[in-house]
């Protein structure tokens, strides 16, 4: 694993948003303040510049197994407005883990923004895990915002598991995820968001179930602390015999506010769609139980929140 030359802030951000440890053992591309700074393709994972826009085209060879690719992006100072378009083509029967992460650090007063537009095209029988982690650090007053847009196209019998995590520090988030799910394909999305202070996070999902036997599971867990605000929108559209399940659980701590509106649309008589939503404070009996194990009220609250978002 060759050492990559990076600033200390970037290295720290990379460690918190990806599996970076002084380098990567597999295919990767690192983006820093709007420019690609280092990259490696491997036999089965080819990373190239996107011809028509800033960003990358990443191709995972058909039939390849156990591949991994990391594409972290960092913004390390204010006055940056970075937009990147990354396209992933996952070949038939391939199996890959994609680790995308985005870190924003501002120690000054200027705003910093990173918008990643990621598109995933999965061929027949392909399987991908997409992990996306967002952090923001630094104590500058500049507003740190991110706007991840994800588009997912699932071919026959393919499966995408998307795991997205945002645990604090980001002032403004608008997360938009769209998916078109083909025959017998499966989409699994897990999202966890923590907001505090004056932060705002909005998340929107739109999933079109177009193939017979397709399924989607959409689980969102969020905690709104301080006087932060979160909005959750989901729209699952069953255009074929399919199963859809969405679940939105939010814990409110202090003066946090949460607005959830799930939508289910069945355009096919055999579309079975379910939504569960719960918003509220931490159940008092949960705190009591942990206190009987010796935790203080505050320790109990923190433990419940961290477990919930794990």
């Amino acid at each position: 694993m060759e050492k990559i030359n990076l600033s200390e802030i970037t290295a720290q951000l990379l460690k918190s948003v990806s599996d970076y440890k002084d380098g990567f053992a597999h295919a990767f591309s690192i983006r820093e303040n709007g420019c690609g700074v280092s990259r490696r393709s491997t036999e089965n994972v080819k990373i190239e510049d996107k011809p028509d826009a800033p960003g990358l085209v990443i191709r995972v060879a058909p039939g390849s197994k156990g591949e991994k690719v990391s594409i972290p992006a960092c913004v390390t100072h204010g006055n940056i407005d970075d937009i990147v378009y990354n396209d992933f083509y996952i070949g038939e029967g391939a199996d890959v883990r994609i680790i995308a992460g985005c870190g924003v650090h501002v120690s000054t007063g200027e705003p910093a923004r990173h918008n990643g537009i990621h598109r995933f095209f999965l061929e027949k029988g392909a399987h991908a895990i997409y992990e996306e982690k967002h952090v923001a650090t630094g104590n500058g007053k500049g507003v740190r915002s991110i706007g991840p847009v994800t588009e997912i196209y699932l071919g026959e019998d393919s499966e995408l598991e998307m795991d997205s995590l945002q645990l604090g520090g980001v002032d403004r988030t608008l997360r938009q995820t769209k998916a078109v799910v083909g025959e017998k394909a499966r989409l699994i999305i897990r999202e966890r968001i923590l907001t505090d202070g004056e932060q705002e996070a909005k998340t929107e999902f739109e999933v079109e179930m177009n193939g017979a036997g397709s399924s989607v599971s959409l689980v969102s867990r969020s905690v709104a602390k301080g006087s932060s605000y979160q909005a959750y929108r989901s729209r699952i559209i069953g255009n074929a015999p399919c199963t859809g399940h969405s679940e939105c659980d939010a814990i409110i701590v202090g003066g946090g506010r949460v607005d959830a509106s799930p939508e289910l649309v069945a355009n096919d008589g055999d579309a079975a769609l379910i939504h569960e939503a719960a918003i509220g404070k931490i159940a008092g009996e949960q705190i009591v139980k942990l206190r009987t194990l010796g935790l203080t009220e505050e320790e109990a609250e923190n433990r419940i929140v961290s477990g919930f978002l794990k």
């Binding site: 159940a283 139980k289 206190r291 009987t292 919930f308």
Partner: protein, 249 residues
């Protein structure tokens, strides 16, 4: 040793639930509290663990008055309470709870040991969330395991047998026998079960918010069975007639 002196408690809406409970729970004895539904057993357990505050009276643990201490402080002094209705958590696993209970990180095999003791096939449960998908019997066993993992001076089990299937009931009795032999402190089980009453060193009957009888199991159990009090406490005809003063020796 736990001493309860003239404990009274009334529900927020008014009704008096405990009417002056006086009780001494000696060390190294298994004390089983029984009595009719609604008699005040769970309320008493909650007062001891600090979940409710008494209107009057004192709670003394190992010579120290703990009446004014909160739940956390009592837990840290060695009070453990297995709830009659265990709490579920989205996001905490069985191992997380056992680690919080024992106060340290547990190896896989240590976590498994605790679960095996309450009759759970450990591998299926260590990483399972303590959420609504667990069955009533499963969550009850996990609740027992968390109290066992605490190893404290005082352990209170509130109807541990509830929801436990017949097959596992025998091994549950063995668990309590074993605890009985290894306890360093006091142990209280609240139960309606004859089998649990029969392994008690001492039985305490609580009805209408007070102790109505108390004594060695060999004395009290036959009376309960004859009077049918353990089986049908609210039935007026079968009311427990003997009281602390005139109970046979």
């Amino acid at each position: 040793m736990l001493q309860l002196e003239k404990l009274t408690w009334s529900a927020p809406e008014g009704g008096q639930v405990l009417n002056g409970v006086d009780l001494v729970i000696p060390d190294n004895k298994l004390v089983v509290i029984t009595g009719p539904n609604g008699g005040g057993k769970t309320t008493l357990a909650k007062l001891i663990a600090g979940l409710e505050k008494p209107d009057s009276g004192r709670i003394i643990l190992d010579g120290r008055d703990i009446t004014g201490l909160d739940i956390t402080e009592r837990a840290r002094l060695g009070v453990s309470y297995a709830f009659q209705q265990p709490v579920r958590f989205k996001g905490l696993t069985v191992t997380d709870l056992l680690e919080l209970a024992s106060g340290k990180k547990l190896s896989h095999s240590e976590a498994c040991d605790y679960l095996a003791r309450v009759g759970l096939c450990a591998n299926e449960y260590v990483n399972r969330e303590v959420n609504a998908t667990l069955s009533g019997g499963e969550i009850k066993r996990i609740e027992l395991a968390t109290v066992i993992a605490r190893h404290t001076r005082l352990s209170i089990f509130d109807e541990p047998e509830a929801g436990i299937d017949l097959w596992s009931f025998n091994s549950l009795i063995d668990v309590f026998r074993e605890l009985q032999n290894s306890i360093d402190g006091s142990m209280i089980i609240i139960s309606h079960q004859e089998r649990i009453l029969s392994i008690a060193d001492e039985i305490v009957v609580i009805a209408d918010g007070r102790v109505t009888s108390q004594g060695p199991s060999s004395v009290i159990l036959p009376q309960l069975l004859a009077g049918g009090a353990a089986a049908c406490g609210k039935c007026p005809k079968k009311e427990v007639k003997y009281c602390g003063e005139n109970k046979p020796e």
